[in-house]
Each structure stands twice: as structure tokens, then as C-alpha cells.
């Protein structure tokens, strides 16, 4: 092979199947298209991953990478202009194609979600307690007294100080960190098996961020949930996730258990993300490395690799042909013709 590109091994789908036998959530070839004024836009393309109970998966990417859309697809919270195809299996049940009514039974009870901006994700005209109770009573048949007790328990569970008092307050009376705890309490109300945290800490300051992440990890262990954390912060993934999926332009471009990934990053994009994390050891006033260029326009994707215009390793082949997402090493998948740290890369 004279061109020097590594030829990753294409893994048979059935082999994959056997390997992921214990998965709580399994995405297979998920595609989400949006009908827009400019035509059809594919926001998520052939995404596959799985999460088992008690495990944490990090989905990392820039805005527009499809990470949020894919999680909304799992919850069935996409707008009517979206078309979902492929497979989403949760607890053995196929979710694609379910009616809204059927999905509603799952939302909150099976799968719950925590959103990014706690100042906007709580109803400003409804007291905190009422919002938690609503979550409780939607799925559990409790009378008011019992529901109220449970609501206060939940607020205590998320380590909200003075839960009895906060119960009667309005969201704007709480700080950002406290609000996010409330949002988490709401998500946990019906004992979900899977919690999706969509940029849950992005809008918070660093200290609070750490606290919330710790809280999530502790809760996960306590309740035996699966956790999907969606973020753009690879550093966060390093600290908290068992497995990482990196997304770009709607598709998965690298996927591996955390240890393996950081030991040996393959995809240049992931490498760039890694380098973009500010580090204490760097000399002061040094320029922060950024990923050059901008995320691609999903409505006008080039035929080859979508990262090509910004990639330091790029070659002609990259522009012409889309690299397959395949398992180059056991447990480690990537989509790149010229991955990092291989003998043939320039």
C-alpha cells in the first residue's frame, strides 16, 4: 500500500451486537433530518453508541455537531420539522416511531434530561416546589401530602440547602447552582434509569461546575443510573466519563473508553480539542491554541471528510472520500484516513 493511509478494519454489525448485550440505551445508525427553508439538513448522520446502566458516556462536540439533537431524539423532543430514522433502543424497547403519548410515559420516568441554562429552564412564574411536584405526580400516583414529602426529599437529595424554604421560592430567587440542582431534582423525580445532562454545567462558574458534576456522579452511583453527559469540554469528559464519543458535523468521528482515548488520540479533531483545553502548566501569555476555521454548514457538506478544511493532517484523499467510522483498535473507533500518531501521518 503505497499511499500510506491506514486501512481500518470494518467491523461487522452483528459482532457489535453481541458485544453490547447489556446496554440500557443503544443507538444504531441514528439519522435526524430537518426540513428547512433551504432544503433538507442532516443534523445527525449514522450515529451509533450504547450506554449500560451505571456507566457514563460523554458526547463531545462543538455547537452544530449534532450532540444535542441526538439526545433530543432519544427523548422524542424534536420539532415537527425533524425526521428520525435508524434505531434507538431503550431498555429493550424501540423508541423510533413511537407516538408522542407513548414517549410521554418514558419521559421523566425512564429517561430524564437536564438542560444547559438553569435560568431559562425553570418556569419563572411557578414556585420551585410546584415544579418538582409536577414532575413527581406526572408519573407516580401520590396524593398531595406524599408528593410534597417526596419533593422535599428530592431537593435534599440534590444537596439544596434549606430545601423546605426553597420549596416555596421562585426560581429567580435562587443562584445558578441552586437552580441547576432543582433541575436535577426534577429530572430524578420519577427515578429514571437514564439521565442525559445536556451541557448541564456550561452556564455555571467553574467551582459550581465541579460541585454539580460531583453531585451527578454521586447520584449516579447511588441510584444506579446510566448517565450521558453532553459537552464541548473534553476535560470534563476525562474526569467523569467511562466512555467518550466525539461528534463532528452530525457524525461520530472518534469513540473509545476514556482511558484508551486519552492515551492514544487518533482523530485530529479530537487532538485539537484536547490541545484547546487551557492548562496550568502552559507558560503565561502564551496563545491558547484554538481549532482553526468554523464548524461546517450542515446544509452544504463537502463530499469528503467534513473536518478536512480545518484538519492539519489533510490530504487530497480526505477531500474526495469520506472516511468510514471503524474500529481500528479493539474498543477504539475513529473516522480518519490519516489519524494521529500513526507511522504514516505527515
Amino acid at each position: 500500500m503505497s499511499d500510506g493511509a491506514t486501512q481500518p478494519v470494518e467491523v461487522d454489525a452483528r459482532v457489535e451486537d453481541a458485544a453490547s448485550g447489556g446496554a440500557l440505551l443503544e443507538l444504531r445508525d441514528l439519522r435526524v433530518d430537518f426540513r428547512t427553508a433551504g432544503g433538507r439538513v442532516r443534523a445527525v448522520d449514522r450515529l451509533s453508541y450504547s450506554v449500560a446502566s451505571g456507566r457514563t458516556l460523554a458526547v463531545i462536540g462543538e455547537s452544530g455537531s449534532g450532540k444535542t439533537v441526538s439526545s433530543r431524539a432519544v427523548m422524542g423532543l424534536l420539532p415537527p420539522t425533524a425526521t428520525v430514522s435508524g434505531s434507538i433502543r431503550f431498555d429493550g424497547r424501540e423508541l423510533v416511531g413511537l407516538s408522542d403519548r407513548q414517549m410521554r410515559r418514558l419521559r421523566g420516568a425512564g429517561v430524564a434530561m437536564v438542560f444547559q441554562d438553569p435560568s431559562r429552564s425553570l418556569n419563572p412564574t411557578m414556585r420551585v416546589g410546584a415544579q418538582v411536584i409536577e414532575a413527581v405526580r406526572t408519573h407516580l400516583d401520590l396524593d398531595r401530602g406524599a408528593a410534597r414529602k417526596r419533593a422535599v426529599e428530592l431537593l435534599a437529595l440534590v444537596r439544596l440547602p434549606l430545601p423546605e424554604q426553597r420549596y416555596h421560592e421562585y426560581p429567580h430567587q435562587l443562584s445558578g447552582g441552586m437552580r441547576q440542582r432543582v433541575v436535577i431534582a426534577i429530572a430524578l423525580a420519577s427515578k429514571p434509569k437514564l439521565l442525559i445532562a445536556d451541557e448541564a454545567t456550561t452556564a455555571l462558574d467553574v467551582t459550581t461546575q465541579a460541585q454539580i458534576m460531583e453531585l451527578l456522579r454521586d447520584l449516579q452511583r447511588q441510584l444506579g443510573m446510566a448517565l450521558i453527559m453532553i459537552s464541548h469540554d473534553l476535560g470534563l469528559a476525562a474526569s467523569f466519563a467511562d466512555e467518550v464519543v466525539v461528534m463532528y458535523a452530525g457524525r461520530a468521528v472518534e469513540q473509545a473508553p476514556t482511558g484508551k482515548l486519552f492515551a492514544h488520540v487518533r482523530m485530529p479533531y479530537t487532538q485539537a480539542l484536547l490541545e484547546a483545553i487551557p492548562r496550568v502548566e502552559r507558560p503565561p501569555h502564551a496563545r491558547l491554541p484554538v481549532v482553526p476555521g468554523r464548524p461546517p454548514d450542515l446544509a452544504a457538506l463537502p463530499p469528503g471528510c467534513p473536518f478536512e478544511p480545518r484538519c492539519p493532517n489533510r490530504r487530497d484523499l480526505c477531500r474526495e472520500s469520506d472516511p468510514p467510522f471503524a474500529e481500528g483498535e479493539p474498543g477504539h473507533r475513529w473516522a480518519c484516513w490519516f489519524p494521529c500518531a500513526s507511522e504514516a501521518s505527515p
Binding site: 408522542d100 420516568a109 441554562d117 419563572p124 429567580h172 420519577s190
Partner: protein, 323 residues
Amino acid sequence: MRSPTARLIVYRIATAIPVLWGVTFLTFLVVNRLPGDAAQQLLGINATQQQIQELRDKLNLDQPFLTRYFDWLGHALTGDLGRSFASDQSVTSILNERLPVTFELLAYALIVSLLFTVPVALLAARKPNGIVDRITMATSMVGLSVANYVLALLLVYVFAVKLEWLPAIGYVNPADGIWPFIKSLTLPAISIGFPLFCFYTRLLRADILEQMQGEDYVVTAKAKGVGPWRVLARHALPNSLFGLLTVVGLNIGTLIGVTVIIESIFSLPGIGGALLEAINNRDILVVQGIVLVLAVIVVLANLITDLLYSVLDPRIRYGRAAS
């Protein structure tokens, strides 16, 4: 320690005062500063010089403008708005007689239109661009484009003349029977209320949709598994009602103007009729008094709306607690 709400209330009231004053001045200006010898016009062409001069003295027309203004204002503040030339009835008593009828009509129209607005807007917002929504939008567009005096005439033609279900003119005092009272005000209330309903429905629907499509808390609610009707009614609606409330308050001025027309068509003994009569009789003091009172009512209505808004919005009411 003053709560932020109290401070807000005081501020709003304080700003309303110069506005009120401006209103009195403008009223006086508009009615009085206009060309032509008022006394002459009042008495007609055949009046003698002496009669004209008598009237001028009586009205203090020879005094400078500002003197007259402050004179009138001073009396007005003590409740004396003068007397009508035509009937020699005191302006205040005319107001006392006529205002209640106008209020009743307005209240009837507002309540009925709002009662329909909320459910219809919800139904329309439930499925944007669905059948109900399209019909609602089309109907409301038509309803907005019909002049209310035209609507009034049509209603009279259909319901009073042809079907004889409701009276065409006349007002029945509630003391003389609640049901006839309501019937006498129904057609006028619909003439005012229907275009209002069309307008409010569009507004509320748009606001609800903005909430439903743009706000994160709606997604949170859905993510909890809350059903679509509850999300609409318990989450989106309360937040949208603020907008509607503000508009209703701000619209009071226009509404009063509309009522004037409708009262005339239906011969209702309200303030509108009194105003028109006074205008036709060139009864300056009555016109002044009525315009003043109406304008003051509008300013107060705006003030109340502002205050209500401050009180109802928990973000303003409770402020930020120490976190």
C-alpha cells in the same frame, strides 16, 4: 425598609402626576384655544351684542387664557366642573348619571371577549397551522377588518329587526330587571367585543406560541412527561397572560373612543352620547369636563395595569433573595 415593589409603585404614581397635569392642560387647550368667538357661536347669529357680552362675562372669556385655565383647573380639583349651557345641569352630575352606563358596557364587552379569547387562543396554539388555528386566524382577520359601526348596524339588522331577539336601541337599568338590562347591552357589547376578541386572540396565540417554541422551561416541562394541554395551560399561558394584560390596559383609551360610537348607534345613555350632544350644542364646559375625566380614567387605567403587572410578576414582586 422599602420593598422594591413599594418603590416601584411610588415611582409609577409619581410619574403619572405630571401626565395627569398635562392631560388637563391639553384638554383645556384643545377645547378652548380654537378660532372663532365662542360666545358668538354659542348664541348663534341672531344674538345681540349685549347678550354676547353677557355671556362673555359669564364665561370670563375676556380673561387671558392661562387665567381661565387655572381658574377652571382649580374648580375642577374641588369637583366643580361647571354647568351645562343647554340644560344647566352640573357637569359632575351628568358624569355621575352617564359614566356607569359606559362602564357597564365596557365591562360587558371586555369580559365576554376575554372569556372567549383564552380558550380559543389555547385551542389554536395547540396545533399551530392546524385546522382550528387556520380558522381562528382567518376569522380574526376578518373580524378585525370590519368597522364596529358597520358590525353594529348589521347586528341590529339581523338580531333586532329580522329576528327580533334583542332590542335595537335603548337601555334598561339593572334595577328594572337584570335580564332585560343584559339584553339591552348585548348587541352593543358584541359590536365592541367581537373585534376586540379577534385582536386579543391573535395576540395571545402569538405569545403562547412564542413561549412554546422559544422557551427552555417548556422543554423542561415536556421532558418531565407533562401532557401537551398541561404544558400549554399551566406553563405557557400564565407567562403569556402578562403580555395580554398590558395590551388590555393600554388599549383602554381606544376602547373608550369606540364606546362613544357604539353608544350613539344604540342610543345608550352613556358618556359617549353626552359628549356628542355637548359637542353638537357647543357646550364647552361639558365637553371639557367629559374629555378630562375620560383622559384621567385612561391614565389611571395605564397606571393600574403597570402596577398590576409589577405585582403579578413574581420576578418583580419577590426580587432577588440573598443567595
